[in-house]
């Protein structure tokens, strides 16, 4: 299974949740599969999906899922100690780890070599860290949503991409409808 297969299986599980999605193909795939006001698509700024998601989670009570990639987490490694030390039990970080920089041509990442992101997350102090295979990701996510505990999921999958259109929505529209959905969910 490649990332788009993982996302396809995740859609029924996360469709009614608040999602902050990583730059590039992950956002484009989610946008194509299941565009929702509850999705915040990153159109720039590689690496910050987890930081943005943590900020949303700390600011309000509803559950927030950040969909990140191994390459992006490697770009913003400092995020893991910050997440570990600022526990938000309404926050789930899903790292889809295909061992490559998918959006830029599948160059290999260190996570696909010696570096274990699950082990790094644990070493940073994250208490609930689950590494799973792509086939199990939807079930693991379902349990994490039900669990009310800040959870880091590292989903191992194969590298590879499908053809997807770029997102042409205006960024302010993406941001505004996301904020409106959050405001309504919290009132």
């Amino acid at each position: 299974m490649i990332r788009s297969d993982v996302l396809k299986e995740l859609v029924p599980v996360i469709s009614d949740q608040f999602v902050v999605c990583n730059i590039g193909l992950p956002s484009q795939e989610l946008h194509m599969l299941d565009d929702q006001p509850t999705n915040f698509y990153m159109l720039g700024t590689m690496g910050l999906a987890s930081s943005i998601g943590l900020g949303v989670a700390l600011a309000q009570d509803k559950k927030v899922i950040s969909i990140d990639g191994d390459g992006s987490v490697l770009t913003n490694f400092g995020t893991l100690p910050t997440i570990a030390n600022n526990v938000a039990d309404n926050f789930i970080l899903l790292i889809i780890d295909n061992g490559s920089y998918g959006s830029t041509g599948d160059q290999p990442t260190y996570a696909g070599k010696k570096t274990s992101l699950a082990a790094v997350a644990k070493a940073c102090g994250c208490e609930t860290v689950i590494e799973c295979q792509a086939e199990d990701c939807a079930d693991v996510m379902r349990e994490a949503i039900a669990g009310d505990k800040m959870t880091i999921i590292v989903c191992k999958c194969e590298s590879g991409n499908i053809k997807v259109p770029v997102i042409t929505k205006d960024p302010v529209v993406i941001r505004d409808r996301f904020m409106t959905a959050i405001r309504e969910a919290n009132t």
Partner: protein, 168 residues
């Protein structure tokens, strides 16, 4: 009122509920005040672009936020300021220690200081420079302006403002 307390009081009066910080010794006092403030969630960041991401998330979650950092951070965060804060039109007060100005003891800090205002200008970021402590009387107005216009706004605070580095 003590300048650190005044800054934090202005934050609180403008409903800022989350502040992320990357330390600088000039900012140590205000960071302590932020940490002690019951009305503000203080979340230290490991790098400034991470902090700006957290602020963006907090804003979308319904809480006003701010970042406290050194001017070297302007070099670190250009992409984040442009493709996140500005592209999605988000407010972000940035209280910045303006290292490398008069009274600076460390030569390397001057290398970034000479680019700071030029970079902020190039990024079209409204910029205010606090040199005397009386300049901070405008902080409340600057914060209101930031949340009115949904832009990142820089408040540069130099060594003279903070009272220098002691005997040098």
């Amino acid at each position: 009122m003590d300048i650190d307390k005044k800054i934090v009081a202005d934050f609180v009066n403008n409903d800022i509920e989350l502040v992320t910080t990357v330390p600088c010794k000039q900012l140590a006092g205000v960071i302590d005040e932020i940490d002690a403030c019951k009305d503000i969630y203080h979340i230290p960041s490991n790098k400034e672009d991470e902090g700006i991401g957290i602020c963006a998330g907090a804003f979308m979650g319904g809480k006003r936020s701010a970042i406290i950092m050194q001017n070297t951070a302007i070099g670190v965060t250009v992409n984040t300021l442009v493709t996140l804060t500005q592209f999605y039109r988000m407010p972000l007060p940035m209280l910045i220690s303006y290292r490398g100005e008069l009274k600076e003891p460390v030569a390397c800090q001057v290398e970034m200081a000479v680019h700071t205002k030029a970079l902020l200008n190039q990024l079209h970021i409204p910029t205010y420079h606090f040199h005397q402590q009386s300049d901070a009387e405008e902080l409340d107005t600057i914060l209101k302006y930031t949340f009115m216009c949904n832009k990142p706004v820089a408040i540069l605070t130099d060594a003279t403002f903070w009272g220098g580095y002691g005997d040098q």
